[in-house]
């Protein structure tokens, strides 16, 4: 029997360690519990919560290609926009009235675009990719502008009336249905993404980001894997765009805008790449900051966002994490020291 076929898993901690790689952590459960509780806790903030939910899905999409596969993009709004307009047109012309089905079709439309453009993006390195993705998004924006009889041009698609989700849940004035709908989609797509990144396929993406030369040397078809994840990410971005249209009953040219792609990168950098939650946390932080700063200083809120970003990048997220943990850990050491001193005190007399 060759040496690599002998039973070894019992003798090392291998099975447990492999299992640990994809185990649900406490923090994750806490995060989703809080997200669910937001429905009850903030009944007057459904609008911003809904925006956070679809933005989070959009950032999740960028994290899949940037954080896991290392593909930089400045034009991710292309897929968002295609999803947004597809959902809008389907509802406006009553082609597909049921939102969930329209959502899937919108995602698939973006996915097709993702697959086709992936071959352009695979050519060349980071700088080329930035330019190509940027170019594709600008191109689509101009196309949408040119065919304003279909897209409504600068006015956007108007007069969209959303039908109930699954024919059951009516979109209400306060946006409660919208938020729950977006949150459910976000959660399901997050579960899928989580599954993907912990699979052999997901691991191969991380390997490619780390070292494409070695990845090819152990038999990984690098470009094929990148095409696959780029296509999947386009689907995610398309869903996010469709959700934004469906929750606002509006789609306009700015779905394709450069600012949207750039903001997306910003949000992901704020939250951190390559662990899925970065996008979600980034979306929450970004939207809340935007909200707070815009009320505080309506004209200059972008200044403060910019400042925060610069400081964040200069300090580095790792150090920031250490600092936030320093306080609680310091208190814990002091308490531990007191406790042991007290125990020692009781023993001495």
């Amino acid at each position: 029997m060759p040496w690599y076929e002998m039973p070894w898993r019992e003798r090392t901690g291998i099975v447990g360690s492999l299992y640990d790689l994809s185990r649900w952590r406490w923090g994750e459960m806490l995060f989703w519990t809080l997200a669910l509780m937001a429905i009850l806790l903030f009944p007057h903030r459904y609008l911003i919560l809904t925006e956070i939910a679809w933005l989070a899905l959009f950032v999740l999409s960028l994290d899949l290609i940037l954080g896991y596969a290392g593909i930089v993009s400045l034009g991710h709004a292309a897929f968002f926009g295609v999803g947004a307009y597809t959902a809008g047109l389907l509802a406006l012309h009553h082609i597909i009235d049921e939102p969930v089905l329209a959502l899937l079709v919108a995602g698939l439309a973006a996915m097709v675009l993702g697959f086709v453009t992936s071959f352009l993006v695979m050519r060349g390195a980071d700088l080329t990719r930035l330019m190509v993705t940027l170019g594709i998004a600008l191109l689509l924006r101009e196309l949408a502008n040119r065919f304003s009889d279909i897209t409504g041009g600068f006015d956007g698609l108007q007069g969209i009336v959303m039908q109930p989700v699954l024919g059951l849940f009516e979109f209400d004035l306060f946006g409660k249905t919208s938020f729950i709908y977006c949150l459910v989609v976000l959660f399901l797509m997050f579960l899928l993404a989580r599954r993907i990144v912990h699979s052999p396929f997901g691991l191969s993406l991380r390997a490619i980001r780390n070292n494409p030369l070695r990845a090819a040397a152990i038999g990984i078809p690098v470009n094929r894997r990148l095409t696959a994840i780029y296509t999947i990410a386009a689907f995610y971005a398309g869903l996010a765009g469709a959700l934004s249209t469906q929750s606002t009953a509006l789609a306009s040219l700015d779905v394709f805008s450069f600012e949207r792609s750039a903001d997306l990168l910003l949000v992901l950098v704020i939250g951190g790449t390559g662990y899925l939650y970065g996008g979600l946390i980034g979306a929450v932080v970004f939207k809340l900051l935007q909200d707070v700063l815009a009320t505080w200083t309506p004209q200059y809120w972008q200044f403060w966002i910019g400042l925060i970003l610069v400081v964040l990048v200069l300090i580095g997220r790792e150090r920031l994490h250490r600092w936030t943990r320093w306080g609680p850990e310091r208190i814990k050491t002091i308490l531990d020291a007191r406790k042991s001193a007290a125990v020692a005190g009781e023993k001495t007399p």
Partner: protein
């Protein structure tokens, strides 16, 4: 009997520089073959040509009789041609456990499986566990590769090549830069490679070459200079001249 690996009239030029000159090399099945030569002889270029990192200007490469000259690197790897790198080429953010699990799952053709979790299969887990154990990586298997000491990284470099279950293995200076304390681990790993794997070793360390190889090819200026058994090569005055000449120049 077919050869494990063969090159026919291989030529590679970089601008005006000819790095590989009409090289016809034969690696027998189950061989322990060493490729030696002074600095700049073009040894690593040969490995890069064989594995598809570089494309030759002329000539053919045959892996177990089939022409692989035009195939991309990953196809050659899947056909059983595996290599280590002179300078570690690892996945810095992955742990040794993830690295080996990745190579094993790719080798098992599960690389596109996006629904299953890693290494849930018992045979796969066995393979991963045994490889980590064999290369003394079990105690560091959950640490980021970038944080490992150099010797451990070197072992992982070799383990990763073995995990692909190669039929032909190209070792590019496996002991280069390894501190003396960890050197024995590397040498033992190289010595205990499965017998049914044909090995082409590139090395500067003559002790390792002569203890390992049963056939030696000497490369000078990109061309095959001398080939023979270790004792023949050791006695050959031209080889001595090349190495002594190099030493005298230096």
């Amino acid at each position: 009997m077919t050869l494990a690996l063969e090159t026919q009239g291989l030529v590679k030029t970089f601008g005006g520089l000819t790095a590989t000159r009409d090289l016809s090399l034969k690696v027998e099945r189950d061989a322990r073959h060493a490729l030696i030569g002074p600095n700049g002889a073009g040894k690593t270029t040969v490995i890069n040509l064989l594995t598809g990192v570089l494309r030759p200007n002329a000539g053919r490469i045959l892996l177990e009789g089939s022409d692989i000259t035009a195939l991309p690197a990953y196809r050659r790897a899947l056909m059983g041609l595996s290599r280590t790198f002179q300078i570690n080429q690892l996945f810095a953010d992955l742990t040794p456990l993830e690295t080996i699990a990745l190579a094993v799952s790719e080798q098992r053709g599960e690389g596109m499986h996006w629904w299953s979790s890693l290494g849930r299969d018992a045979t796969a887990a066995d393979e991963i566990g045994l490889l980590l154990q064999r290369f003394h990586l079990t105690e560091v298997m959950n640490a980021r590769t970038a944080t490992l000491p150099y010797g451990k990284q070197r072992l992982l470099e070799i383990a990763l090549a073995i995990a692909a279950k190669p039929r032909v293995l190209l070792l590019d200076e496996p002991a280069a830069g390894v501190p003396e304390a960890e050197r024995q681990d590397i040498l033992a790993a190289v010595a205990s490679l499965p017998r049914d794997v044909s090995v082409l070793l590139i090395e500067h360390d003559m002790d390792l070459v002569f203890s390992f190889a049963d056939r030696i090819s000497v490369l000078v200026n990109g061309a095959l200079f001398v080939e023979g058994s270790p004792s023949e090569v050791a006695r050959d005055p031209r080889v001595k001249a090349v190495y002594l000449g190099e030493a005298a120049d230096a």
